[in-house]
Amino acid sequence: MQGNLPPEAQEKLEELQDLQETAQQVAAQKQQAETTLRESENALEALDDAEEDTEIYREVGELLVKSEYSEAYEELEEKVDSLEIRVDTLEKQEERVREQFEELQEELQEMLQGAGGPGGGGGPMGPGGPGAGGD
């Protein structure tokens, strides 16, 4: 089908496909960041429930290295803060990509209709694609 498209439309279609790929990558990164965030929040909760003289260890590969409650708490708090920022940034990026995708999709459909080409029908798969969102 792509071979029958005018070169300009072909170019836009390729851009759309690239955007779709970007959207999937961003969604995967966001999901990863959300998972790590949730894990770190749970770890903080676990520390909240524990006494301050609890023996704490840092996991280094298979090894457990003795650490301190306060050090672990501080590090986990910092981790949660930075992960919240990361998730927020990725959400904004996701939104930007979605807007770009929709604009481009509209342009392409107009281009095809203007050229008397086949009607848009069901548009391209959304930028998120199946399972890309994850939430």
Binding site: A43, M125, P130, G134
Partner: protein, 156 residues
């Protein structure tokens, strides 16, 4: 992605999309299996914690099927991973609680993954219907063309 009408190209593209969805579904299902494996590991750890007592003799695996005998100094000093790269010492009940809450987290993840599978399946169904419609359209077009050609042949 369907931008064109009923050409064979559109059909190819639908086929590609269906294959991509199938691959995606397989990947999500594999992840569900991994998570279920993690849950089984946790269950085994909980069983061990419930079964063992201080001063029990155990055989500690060294790998390669080799074990060394050891005596448990205290069942009330269990180091359990709490996530985020840290582990904390808990008493037996505390360790079991931590492990149970990990299992809850894994259950939530399994539910999320299952709903992803359901989403992929419904998308697959829609695409399959579309493919079927496209095929029917092509068949009708072919039949019309054939009838037209036969009609023209009769006129001659």
């Amino acid at each position: 992605m369907s931008l064109g009408g009923g050409g064979g190209g559109g059909m190819d593209q639908l086929q590609q999309q269906l294959e991509a969805l199938e691959q995606e579904k397989e990947a999500v299902e594999a992840e569900i299996e991994d998570v279920q494996g993690d849950k089984t590991d946790i269950d085994e750890a909980i069983d061990a914690l419930e079964m063992l007592d201080t001063d029990d003799t155990v055989q500690v695996p060294l790998g390669g099927g080799a074990y060394v005998r050891a005596e448990l100094e205290s069942i009330e000093e269990i180091v359990v991973s709490i996530g985020g790269g840290y582990a904390a010492e808990r008493d037996r009940d505390g360790a079991i609680d931590t492990l149970e809450s990990k299992k809850d987290t894994l259950d939530t993840r399994i539910e999320e993954l299952r709903s992803e599978v359901a989403e992929i399946e419904s998308e697959t169904e829609q695409l399959e219907q579309k493919a079927q419609q496209m095929q029917q359209q092509q068949m009708q077009q072919m039949m019309q063309q054939q009838q037209q050609m036969e009609g023209e042949g009769d006129e001659e």
